[in-house]
Amino acid sequence: MLRLVWGILFTSFCLYTGWVYLYCDEEAKTTENIHPAVTEGWNLWQQNNCQSCHQLYGLGGYMGPDLTNIARDSTKGKPYMYTFIKHGTGRMPAFNMTDDEVYRIIDFLEWVDKSGVSQVPAEAVHWSGTYIIDK
């Protein structure tokens, strides 16, 4: 009996895992392949461990701000991002990156921004306590 319950649970887990991989992002099937500049920026993001201080969708360290939608912030924008990444601030160290590397990270952040909005609007909260998010 115990083995049967375990087997059913494990099978459900495998099926759910496959479904998550294929369908968690419904729009992914229709989008074009990721641009190499974005991949490069993503790798630089990890190599410089930007996630230690910054969040994307609220995931990451809390030393600096969440950068999911920085690219669409009309008060900031590309020159603002360039200056911060290139020269750092009192709290953020300068990483001595080349201009090319800085722009690749900006490419990555612009791509992340297109995936959705990090902050869930109040209207998305359903009466049952869950969210209904329109992408």
């Binding site: 991989y21 990721i34 990890q46 030393m63 869950t130």
Partner: protein, 444 residues
Amino acid sequence: MPLHIRLYTKFVFLLLLATLVFGLFSSWAYLYPEVFNKYLPFYQLRPMHTSAALFFIISAATLCIIIFHKNTIGRDATTGIFEKTFITTWVATILVIFIYYSFKKFGGREYWEFPAWLALPLLLSWVLLMIGYYKGWLKCADKKPLYIWMWSTGILFFFITFIEQNLWQISWFRQSFLRELTVQWKANGSMVGAWNQMIYGSSLFLMVMISGDKTIALNKKAFFFYFLGLTNLMFNWGHHIYNLPAHGAIRHISYIISMTEWLIFISIIQSFKNKLEEARKLRHLLPYKFLVASEFWVFANLTLALFMSIPAVNRYTHGTHITVAHAMGTTIGINTMILLGVLGYALDIDKKINTGRKLFTRSYNLAQASLLIFWLSLILAGIIKGYRSVTLNINSFQQMMEPVNNVLKLFAVAGAGVAIGLGIIVVQYWQSMSDSNSNVKDVK
């Protein structure tokens, strides 16, 4: 005690000490970056702290299984070879990871920031552990006790989730940022469940040993909660990514499954009186003190987790220090307490720590009291951040964080208390191993 297990035990204690020291420095680097940025910036200290903590928890969990499975599952002639090869590869890879960190060489995802290729020797060593363990498990005639189920489940699911955690290295997973992040946090969330299975299994084994009552690892209620935990391991990882605009079903499934944890919550309250009675009888045992502490922290963190699992509440807590409170509350309050209890039992500290008993109790009390302040200050910091970012919608990060950083000063002071308290206990454990008569207690 065989030499390789003795050395592995010392390595585990060194990892815990490293976690405490790097954690302490990280909190200062967070508060005073202008002092640390030049030589030891926060982005370097944080992975050193988190990786040391993760590797301490996982290594200590495997150490407990290695120590105990001789008397539960049994060993054959080859078990020792697999154990030794696992320990050598595992320890060597972790040392290489820290060498990379010391040169600011990163490349992986959050919590596993080391260059990606180092995942391969870690995986290889885990496979060796699995072969050694499951060889004994297959031959074992009595697989009924729940702790054997839990160890077997934990070892298997760590293997699965570790592979899943590295799927980002396959380009298909990176075609969509939402997919990559979903899979990443699916793996991370379930991996926590995997090491909890290993650790709770050892905790249950310890309770059987202390009480001499084998039925607590055989009764139906215990198995019911095992399957409930397993279901949560498999399907309740979505609360990490509630705000992600991924498929809504992930959110709803996780929300529903997480609400089953209320059953655990109710069960803890129901068994409170019995636990109190048990605590009165066993309070003279030093390892038991850690189990009592872990019971409290399970209750506190479960309460927090239940609220965080409601998306409408998660909207205020996600991306704030409340999630840090939960992460640190569980890893220090639950995982570390259980592991110190189990290892203390294995090292027979009740007999070894005679003259230092008073110091031990004081350090234990300091660690618990500091951890409570540490945990509450993180929750308070999270509430302030959540309120200022979601309700007041303050756009300037500096302005939003101003009152939060004041609360975090209290967190840093309390963190020093945790580090000193646990640090002294670890040193006492270490000294008990240096005793010429020292040996791992033969667990019967």
